[in-house]
């Protein structure tokens, strides 16, 4: 028996997609579900080193750390470098609520010229360049599950979903990628 717990990524080893849209599991990251009122935004922005977005469907990114606007007082923070976001949040005295959701969520990266088409196969969100530009983010649905969609590049999207739903999301996106390439 191994005397230590092994970290098992929910989508480890999976691959899929098509020539036009690659679908790959994202590397592990730390995530924070953050809720705060208007008067705490300034203090929290300073602590996390990025300006928490206040406009719908926008995000802020600084060297691998992203803050996505989910609602008028709600953000999803993602740190791809694995920084302890809870540690930062606990040092802020301004009234806020922070929950570590690093292991609740996992992410799927969809990239390539047909990436938007692959996602649109199951997502009702308008992914046009003017209405969902690079940096846009929104909580929405993918098939029968809820996701947070983040456009990280011209042809790159990050689909954040719950860990237990991730095989479903991955299958749907892989299928969508094949269809989008036809």
């Amino acid at each position: 028996m191994a005397d230590q717990a092994l970290r098992k990524a929910p989508l480890a080893g999976r691959h899929g997609g098509s020539a036009g849209a690659r679908v790959t599991p994202a590397a592990a990251a730390t995530r924070l579900s953050l809720r705060a009122g208007e008067d705490a935004i300034g203090t929290l922005s300073l602590a996390f080193g990025l300006e928490l977005p206040r406009r719908p469907k926008t995000s802020a990114s600084v060297s691998g750390r992203h803050a996505l606007w989910l609602g008028p007082d709600e953000w999803l923070l993602i740190d791809e470098n694995g920084t302890d976001l809870m540690g930062i949040a606990s040092g802020v005295s301004a009234l806020h609520s922070a929950t570590d959701v690093s292991h609740r969520n996992t992410a799927i990266l969809v990239s390539g010229p047909d990436a938007a088409g692959a996602i649109a196969s199951a997502c009702p969100l308008d992914l046009g360049n003017t209405i969902f530009p690079v940096g846009a983010a929104a909580r929405t649905v993918l098939g029968k599950i809820e996701i947070v969609l983040f456009r990280s590049g011209e042809e790159d999207y990050r689909v954040e979903c719950w860990r237990s739903f991730s095989p479903y999301a991955f299958g749907l996106l892989a299928e969508g990628a094949e269809d989008a390439g036809l």
């Binding site: 609602g71 009702p124 969100l125 929104a138 649905v141």
Partner: protein, 114 residues
């Protein structure tokens, strides 16, 4: 696909992201302990179920998560307008109400369907 305008996201989003939340502007009696069972029943259970314009609560549950109010036509399913929770009920008396002609499965027109 039915599109619903979310006043918090400030754009139209798919109906798949929303949940219906019942009638809007139902005021809870301030003397809730004193009212009779009949009055409580009126407040708690009984709704008008109008044909035409209705004011409802909706929740953008798979989006920003917020409750808001919307005016909808129950015949045509048209969303006349939506506004943030807590804002006063808008006066839409000038708004034309839909007729049976706008609905395809209304019982009275079934006989004439070809």
């Amino acid at each position: 696909m039915l599109l619903i305008y979310c006043p918090y996201c400030e754009e139209e989003r798919s109906e798949l992201e929303f949940r219906h939340g019942g009638d809007a502007h139902i005021a809870r009696p301030t003397n809730i302990a004193d009212i009779t069972d009949e009055e409580f029943q009126d407040y708690f259970f009984l709704r008008d179920n109008p044909k035409g314009l209705i004011f409802e609560r909706w929740r953008h549950i798979h989006g920003c998560g917020r409750f808001f109010n919307a005016a909808r036509d129950t015949v045509s399913d048209k969303f006349v307008m939506s506004y943030k929770a807590g804002e006063p009920k808008p006066n839409l008396s000038g708004e034309p109400t839909a007729t049976e002609k706008t609905v395809e499965t209304y019982e009275a027109t079934e006989g004439t369907a070809k």
